[in-house]
Symmetry: C2
Subunit: 231 residues, 2 copies
DNA sequence: TAGATTGTTAATCGATTAACAATC
DNA sequence: TAGATTGTTAATCGATTAACAATC
């Protein structure tokens, strides 16, 4: 086993260059750094600093340097970071060196919007399939793909080689669909259905719940107005 | 000033019943508990336990009890929690006792889908306005509301009394639109545009970045396949 | 009373921050 | 060399977990 090629795991967490695991909180910020670097590169800058990059990403310079230190030492003291090189390193760490294949399940209003969302393709992914249970939707073309039937989900995953799925079905069928995706071999699921999904340990779930986000905002809204007394 | 009615603040964080602040991590889980309680109530249960509720919400019973303890003591030892009462308490804490008015800015594919998303109304919010910069969209009716022009944003906020905004504009105009929302008096913003938004301290921002979520999933996907050697 | 289940405590764990030595 | 900026350390802070006394 070639240690330079293989990924070493430390306590179930992917190891960085030096064998240290990358903390989840750091992983969650890496996409923001990558995006900030792309903006910097677009302006033609060759070098950048933790100050500049942190400002763009909306974190503190200390936080940024700490995060990058988990990946390795990609900056030069007194100089800064090479934009192209750091961009490349983060791309590799995030697993975006190879394009990831994404399957979208549930082509309703939201699924339709996401299928046409350019940001997905721009940031390392290919949409390889669309699946829905509604006969009226199956067979139609959305974002250049023909929508296939939910009954064929397993075959679609096998044929397309999708490893990541976006789940935009009604909440009532989310868990069942999730189970089918897992059975088909998908290892990452981004769900927009409210409610917790149960998955085996080797599967990763991220949940976007719009109403929950609004409720969190409402908490602060209330905290703000309650003291002041708007009357 | 009546202490029983007014909200006390501790270090800028809203205080719970006993004056202790509610930790952000706890606040972020409250919507999940509320939803679990609604499901429990829908099944006709009058009492529930930390075990059952935690399982539904996808957290540990210890976590749930700890979280609820920040709000006060709403359970009975040896008995459990009264579903209706706990539901009411969390609703109040989250600031959902009064319906919150939401403005949606950017009626493209995604904005259109969100405007029609029933979950928003079901969970304590009213959509009170739609705004877009595209003359082809302004004047059309979406989700029962006539889309107004972005130039009138300030007037729309004033007229509708919206305190929370959903931002689904292109990334290029997100910061400018955000500034206008803040100037108009909005105190909570849920943005779907990638990239950090700068806002004053009294404004709360939550960001949903679909591509970032996928990239986080890609990290784990890579971690998984790199060790195993698929070929 | 006996059994069940909360609310709270203390211990552990992970994340953030600040400061500065290393080094370009 | 002098100035700049990283990478790392140590301190602080916040979140999670496990255990159990309180109490229904």
């Amino acid at each position: 086993m070639d240690e330079r090629r293989s990924a070493r795991r430390v306590g179930g967490r992917r190891a960085g260059r030096d064998g240290q695991p990358v903390p989840p909180a750091t992983v969650a910020r890496l996409p923001g750094y990558l995006r900030a670097l792309q903006a910097t590169a677009a302006e033609g800058a060759v070098l950048t600093s933790s100050d500049e990059l942190a400002a763009r990403a909306g974190v503190s310079p200390a936080q940024l340097r700490k995060d990058l230190s988990f990946l390795g030492s990609y900056g030069r003291r007194g100089v800064g970071y090479d934009v192209a090189h750091l961009r490349e390193q983060i791309t590799v760490v995030l697993g975006l060196a190879d394009v990831r294949r994404v399957l979208l399940v549930g082509v309703g209003n939201l699924g339709h919007a996401l299928a046409n969302y350019a940001g997905i393709a721009e940031r390392g992914f290919v949409l390889v399939g669309l699946v829905d249970a509604d006969p009226a939707v199956v067979g139609t073309t959305v974002a250049g793909l023909v929508v296939e039937h939910a009954d064929d989900l397993r075959a679609v995953v096998a044929r397309t080689g999708a490893t990541i799925a976006v789940l935009t079905t009604p909440a009532s069928v989310a868990q069942r669909t999730c189970d089918e995706l897992v059975a088909a071999g998908v290892v990452g699921i981004l769900t927009f259905a409210p409610g917790a999904l149960r998955v085996p340990d080797h599967v990763d779930v991220r949940t976007v719940d719009v109403a929950s986000e609004l409720q969190i905002l409402a908490f602060h809204d209330r905290a703000r107005s309650a003291g002041g007394g708007v009357s």
